[in-house]
């Protein structure tokens, strides 16, 4: 066999294998809730008890493999907290404006999340939890455990193709937020971003 033809054949085979690594045809994440949340702490009671925003974010997941019908199509859903970086320490909220001479800027882990759907497919459970101490640490809502759990299973970590229209109990996530500032924080205005990342996984 011509060595050049043999080389091309090998390349083509490898390419075909690699092409098959893209298992899903489409992944779409939609937020039908609010993309900006303002939390004003203007009474001592709010500082003590915190503020809770129930269902402020509603995520709809759509993962489709109807064209290629590849059975390996899976996805994960990750939450990342971002404070803009720069000069801001990676464990603090980004300071927009500070009007205080004493105290410390708030830490990012005063933000609590609760991620739930009716089938409780989230790996984070159904209770409030604090976000990690530093930015960029992933919170796995749906993780890649190497196993495809199909839609309709109604168990933890459903990660097969499906969508919120046909399986809302598994593909629709309601996100609640809570912040309890406590005392001795530097008063001012602060910002933090929460990023939801839907990715197909292999």
């Amino acid at each position: 066999m011509d060595p050049i033809k043999a080389f091309c054949s090998i390349i083509l085979i490898l390419f075909a294998q690699l092409c098959s690594a893209q298992a899903c045809d489409e992944v779409v994440l939609t937020n039908t809730g609010q993309s900006n949340l303002n939390m004003a702490f203007d009474t001592f009671g709010k500082y003590l008890s915190g503020l809770t925003f129930n269902g402020a974010t509603r995520l709809k997941v759509k993962v489709d493999n109807s064209i290629n019908n590849n059975p390996s199509c899976r996805w994960n859903l990750v939450v990342l907290v971002d404070n803009g970086g720069g000069a801001t320490p990676n464990n603090e909220w980004e300071t927009v404006f500070s009007q205080s001479v004493s105290g410390t800027p708030p830490k990012i882990d005063i933000l609590q999340l609760r991620i739930k759907n009716l089938c409780n497919t989230s790996q984070t459970g159904s209770q409030f939890f604090s976000v990690p101490l530093v930015t960029g640490t992933p919170i796995m809502v749906i993780t890649n455990n190497g196993i495809t759990t199909p839609a309709g299973s109604c168990i933890t970590n459903v990660n097969g193709p499906g969508n919120a229209n046909t399986n809302p109990d598994e593909y629709l996530f309601d996100i609640d937020y809570r912040i309890v500032p406590g005392g001795s924080l530097k008063s001012g205005i602060y910002e933090l971003r929460v990023r939801f990342l839907l990715t197909e996984v292999f």
């Binding site: 994440l29 937020n31 900006n36 001592f44 009007q99 708030p106 500032p181 005392g183 001795s184």
Partner: protein, 260 residues
């Protein structure tokens, strides 16, 4: 020719694979804006007026004490200081009680109507938790001095300008001190009597008052803000001085402010 075809084929493969291998992904962001407004609340329970009537010899000698006349309760989201300052309208001069009425007509020798505001003594039930003060007395937590041992341990802080300027680090604070070095040194951490209660809470103070005129009425417990410079009537006006009989008024301002 074959080499050219191979090159083109590999280029196409490379281009295609660049597109084909992109991992499908979508993301959504939610931005939080948190407005932490500074909240300083001082709840005070006290009679609107506290009367000290000196109408017998014993009250002049031993003074009159009003125990627990004022209760102060603090809630703050920021580090804070709390101090008391003696104030008046200054109708007899800055730093002196206001004379509302004078008993008698002819002024006797040595009489004066300039009674120092620092003649009022305070005592707080819980010591100042910030220990960074550099003065002789850091707070008003000492027991009222004995009549025979005049001391400025409890004399009320008075701004010489008859204003409410915060005391210096050498002066008395109920809680905290001037400066922003650290909580426990010159500031008290944010918090509230609602969650930190008990008899020794740093957010709850019971204030006693005492006025000791002495006999003759020279107010021996009156001292300047430093706690060591006597302001009794004899020291200020000379031997033979004493207080002119009459009705006098003044007021105490309690000021809660962010650690400064």
């Amino acid at each position: 020719m074959k080499a050219k075809k191979l090159l083109v084929a590999l280029s196409m493969l490379g281009l295609t694979s660049t597109v084909a291998f992109g991992q499908l992904q979508d993301q959504k962001d939610v931005t939080f804006t948190m407005d932490l407004q500074p909240i300083l609340q001082l709840n005070m329970t006290t009679p609107s007026q506290i009367d000290f009537t000196f109408d017998d010899i014993n009250s002049y000698y031993a003074g009159i004490t009003r125990y627990g006349a004022t209760i102060l309760k603090v809630s703050s989201t920021v580090n804070w200081d709390l101090y008391a300052v003696g104030r008046s309208n200054g109708n007899t001069g800055a730093g002196f009680w206001d004379q509302q009425i004078r008993y008698g007509t002819a002024a006797a020798g040595g009489e004066t109507n300039q009674l120092p505001l620092s003649a009022l003594e305070l005592r707080q039930n819980t010591p100042n938790a910030a220990t960074g003060g550099t003065g002789t007395f850091e707070d008003y937590s000492a027991a009222f001095p004995a009549v025979a041992s005049p001391s400025g341990a409890n004399s009320l802080y008075v701004d010489p300008a008859n204003s409410n300027t915060p005391p210096l680090i050498t002066h008395k604070y109920i809680a905290g001190h001037k400066g922003t070095t650290a909580v426990g040194t010159d500031g008290i951490a944010g918090g509230s009597y609602l969650t930190s209660n008990g008899l020794t809470s740093n957010y709850f103070y019971s204030i006693d008052y005492r006025i000791l005129p002495g006999l003759p009425a020279i107010f021996p417990m009156a001292f300047a803000a430093d706690g060591t410079t006597a302001q009794d009537l004899v020291t200020i006006n000379g031997a033979g001085s004493f207080a002119q009989p009459g009705v006098y008024t003044m007021y105490v301002q309690y000021i809660l402010l962010e650690d400064q």
